[in-house]
Amino acid sequence: MQVRRLAAWTALPLAATLGLAACGGGGDSGESDPNATVSIQIAEPQHLISTNTNDSSGNQVLSALFAPLVDYDEQNKPFEVAAESVNSTDNLTWTIKLKDGYTFHNGEKVTSDSYLNAWNYGAYGPNGQGNSYFFEKIAGFDDLQSKDPDGDGPQKAPEPKAQTLTGLKKVDDLTFTVTLAKPYSEFKTILGYTAFYPLPEAAFSAPGVIKDGYEDAPIGNGPFKMKGTWQHDAKVEVERYDAFPGDKPKIAGAEFRIYQQLTAAYADVLSDNLDVDVTVPTENLSTAATDLGDRFQQSQNSSFQFVAFPTFQKEFSKPDVRKAISMAIDRDEITKSIFKESQISARSFVSPVVAGYRDDTCGEACEFNPTKAKELYQAAGGPAELKITYNGDGGHKDWVDATCNQLKTNLGVDCVGAAEPKFSDLLTKVEGKQPVGLIRMGWLMDYPSMENYLGPLYTTNGSSNYYGYSNPDFDRLVQEGTTAATPDEAVKKYQQAEDILATEMPVIPLRFGQNVYAHSTRVKNVEVDLFQVVDMTKIEVVS
């Protein structure tokens, strides 16, 4: 009875502020209300287990429920949060000391085992975790995988040789060591990703088996705890966890409201029905500034848009052809007229958000120069017909068509944009070596390092190198970078590697993305980070 009355009293002023704020349209002035909750737009997360979550909606929810070992500062360098220190003398064996005082939301202490159990679970092949590749660098990873002996045949894959990573060793309750398979200077940077959160004992029903239902109410070590369970397609609610020893959030809780369409969320934020709309849909960009004023904001993110040349198509084998096509594209025109400046023209092969980024590494090849482009194209004997293949479900048609029109005018060639229904259909065609022409690609980083662009996108065995670019010198330089003694030396190697890309142009850099987000009149200090995640410790409610 007592509790219920209390709830009614707190609900009343909340409703009142809502009404007032809607009338007054107040800005940053005034105090903040620590007892209020906010609502934030997400899509339905695919998973809410740290080792399986890699979509931005899942990351958003888990970022509220968990505290990472390290986070990133203004320069995107890692600093310790739940870790006391992360050290290594040889970049091979890393000692991680945990801060004392962190507890899970069920009261359990966070210990070395919380991390080791979670990481072993994530790395174990048969668990099929989406983030398992994050643990590849740790010694013993291969022994946790198993190959189906007859490919896709009737035989089942045998049990992997080991259940736990040999590279993970507990020293005491708050210290453990991680031995990598090869030295890696930026291991500390990786630790900020979702995959490296700990899991409590309560998450497991037996060693190595996640309890049924844990995913619907994850127990974390972060500033917020679950309120109720994950209501699929509807919402995930969290409330402040008072025993959290780190930076205290300035709100009492949050509702992550699930939207399938961005336009619906935008309509809600316009009418103060939703507090933070993390992605303003492209069709509303032209009116958002007048609709919302300074409640419409932009911040950097890590996305990188480019088109790639499939190596199996001979007509693109000459670097001069590739350069000529790149020079015939007026990037600034497209970012202005189609993206309304919500994206930035790209003239480098890695995003500006990582350490070691340099402007204009692509040089002349990314400068718009139609006359020179045409000369070069004709001299190199480029094909008379070009095609840009893209996935039709991602809103790419406008800019692909615009790019094609520029190529038509500036190179005097025929160009068509060919839509595939989905990105997976596009990949199927590329893997089948069908003549797809140029292919649209995009990349979001997992952790802020040049290596996270150079490795997956351009090395021979890169996970997203669907277009088959391969250069042994490049591979060697990236490899040397990852094993370099210090991050600074690593960056030097990466930059040398990037210079090779500029001469060979395996892809045409087009644009760097930005977060374009909007918030209601109720909230202030809304920050969306590089991973498209709202900073849950900074957001405040205007009182």
């Binding site: 989406g130 209501q231 699929h232 336009t263 619906a264 969320a265 309509a267 990105f423 997976s424 995009g442």
Partner: protein, 312 residues
């Protein structure tokens, strides 16, 4: 009558399995790489790919693979297990969550269509050629001409955002009030058709012999219209509305998306986008049942409305 209904129910079982087979075959044929579709543009980890392939028998391809997977699915279905979606959720749970809100929405849409459509249709039919008749003609033509994909965002913007009469989105557990605007948008197309149908039918029946006889007997206009004309005029309208109920439930993809209602259309859209075969088949199977049942109800209603129609 009883034998007729039993016979129809037995036919429904056949129709049900026939349609699931066809839908399953279509999903199977159109399936590219569902694991990549699920991951979007991110690379898929080898462990994850192996796990999902094993779990959903995605390595079974070709004709043999199709029948293997289909009978696996039907076998589970008969045991009451609709299977798992590719994201790992139980499809049974997803359906249980999606259906109630869609049913509510469809009923609101249907009620709007009946109340407004039939009433206005009767008035327009009685005063054929008058101002009301011409005005509704113009209005219904306009509504029929605007696709939902335009109508829904416009209604949301003007009635939800600019002039906040309704909440702009409804959400997962909406009140009837929050569902009103999406319901009206959804029902507007049926409303227009129902209005046109009723009007034509009423206008035609007003000139029939039995109406003349009734008038000659000196019956009141009210009784002639409400008992004789309306009852006879409703047969085509009922046929239309019966089929429309199924359409309203399955056709809410756009409306549910715009107003953020996680119902059947919302899930169907997601299932198709992520090539989630089991989810789409599960949703469509239930839709098929809805169609079959509403058609049966319509056929039985014929006999109620027109005693000349009898079923053996």
């Amino acid at each position: 009558m009883f034998r007729y209904i039993v016979r129809r129910l037995l036919q429904m079982v056949l129709a049900f399995f026939g349609t699931t087979l066809i839908v399953y075959a279509l999903m199977f044929a159109g399936q590219g790489d569902p694991i990549q579709a699920l991951a979007g543009e991110r690379p898929v980890s080898a462990a994850q790919r192996a796990y999902l392939t094993e779990k959903f028998h995605l390595d079974q391809t070709g004709i043999g693979g199709f029948f293997y997977r289909y009978f696996d699915y039907v076998g589970n279905l008969l045991r009451g297990d609709l299977g798992d979606s590719l994201t790992g959720r139980k499809i049974g749970d997803m359906l249980a969550q999606a259906w109630p809100v869609t049913v509510k929405l469809a009923i609101i849409g249907l009620l709007v269509a009946i109340l407004v459509g039939v009433t206005a249709g009767v008035i327009a039919g009685l005063r054929r050629g008058g101002i009301f008749d011409n005005a509704t003609l113009a209005l219904t033509l306009l509504v029929l001409g605007i696709p939902t994909i335009v109508l829904a965002p416009l209604a949301q913007y003007f009635l939800g955002v600019k002039l906040p009469l309704f909440p702009p989105t409804a959400g997962a557990e909406p009140s009837i009030y929050a569902l009103l605007l999406p319901g009206i948008v959804l029902g507007s197309l049926s409303l227009a058709t129902a209005l046109r149908l009723t009007r034509t039918s009423v206008a035609e029946n007003l000139r029939s012999d039995y109406v003349r006889t009734a008038k000659a007997k000196g019956m009141s206009v009210r009784r002639i219209v409400s008992v004789h004309v309306l009852r006879n005029s409703l047969i085509p309208v009922i046929t239309f509305l019966g089929v429309e109920l199924g359409n309203l439930m399955s056709g809410a993809i756009i409306t549910e998306g715009v107003f953020n209602i996680p119902g059947v259309g919302f899930n169907l859209f997601r299932g198709i986008r992520t090539e989630d075969g089991p989810l789409v088949v599960g949703l469509v199977s239930v839709l098929v049942v809805v169609y079959l049942v509403s058609n049966l109800v319509v056929d039985v209603l014929y006999a109620v409305l027109d005693p000349r129609i009898r079923y053996e």
